[in-house]
Amino acid sequence: MNFIIPVSVGFLFGFSLQKAGLGHYDKVVNQFRFRDNLMMQFMFSAISVGGIVYFAFSDIGFAGAQTLYLHNTYILGNLLGGAVFGVGMAVAGTCPGTILAGIGQGNLDYLSAGVLGFLTGGLIYGINFPFFLSLTQTGFYGKITWEGISGINHWALILLIAALSAVVYKFASAKRRIKS
């Protein structure tokens, strides 16, 4: 299997996460406390730029079959999984991507208890797979997109997402100033 692409993609991702400071606990938990909107800024920029780059190239035929990598939508599971994830993120102050950035910058807690936690979580999921799979059956719609549902062009949608995220970011930052 070709390893050059995943290693390069990972390198760029890990480098950026660390440079933004997201390998640090405080940057992650302070987003949930709205004391530091760095994570929001990082994610919104990644979504907007990623979408523009992706659609610019896929429109001229550079992307293979999207069904190969498009996520499945299953309302209960996506929401519930996200909620369990959110509790873990606020407790741990990290997530699956930022833990690797943290390990790279020398966080020994991430390398020990953190990695052990992820492996244990994966084992619990694997052992109880039939049960967890049943959670994905409620409201299962498969590989759908907002474009397919609404009939609105993907460029209009990605620009709408970019504009909306700018508004949310402005709003959240204004609220923080009042607080402090």
Binding site: G14, Q18, R33, G50, G82, F85, G88, V91, F118
Partner: protein
Amino acid sequence: MRVLEFFKMKRWSGFVAGSLTGIAAALSCLAAEKVMGASGGFESCVSILVSLFNLDISRTVYFIRVKPPVADYQTLQFIGMIAGAFLAAKFSGDFKLRWFPDKVWLPLFGASRVKRLTALFFGCVLLQIGASIAGGCTSGLGITGVFLLSPAGLLFITGVFSAGIITALLIYGRKY
């Protein structure tokens, strides 16, 4: 010279670092037809370990077909991520061996290593179970899923932020 200084900067803004991450995520879809993510890599690691120790559970459908015991795309991506973060931290002098976070955690919860490792362990267990149920994590669903216009991405982010804010309120209480 200018370029070198840019790489030595201690912090890049979320706009710069996030935009680069967006390019990496788009490249992953375009060049490899794979999603840039991390939670799937941990699932593969578990499968490899389970098969290495020849546990009974390794002979179930999940560990044979759903997550076979091979170093897949995201596992290889881990190598790049750790190397990238290591170099970034080395460049700016942010690299340091540390057992717990000196900001927010230390002043609020003290210097107990057991306390930090216990909280981190259980937090990470929940992170992996949640990501596996949802079908991705902050990068896979939260970034790539949203820009591919999948409703799953938005549902996931809604779940993460609602539960994350409530949990932070409970943990920090009056210090929220």
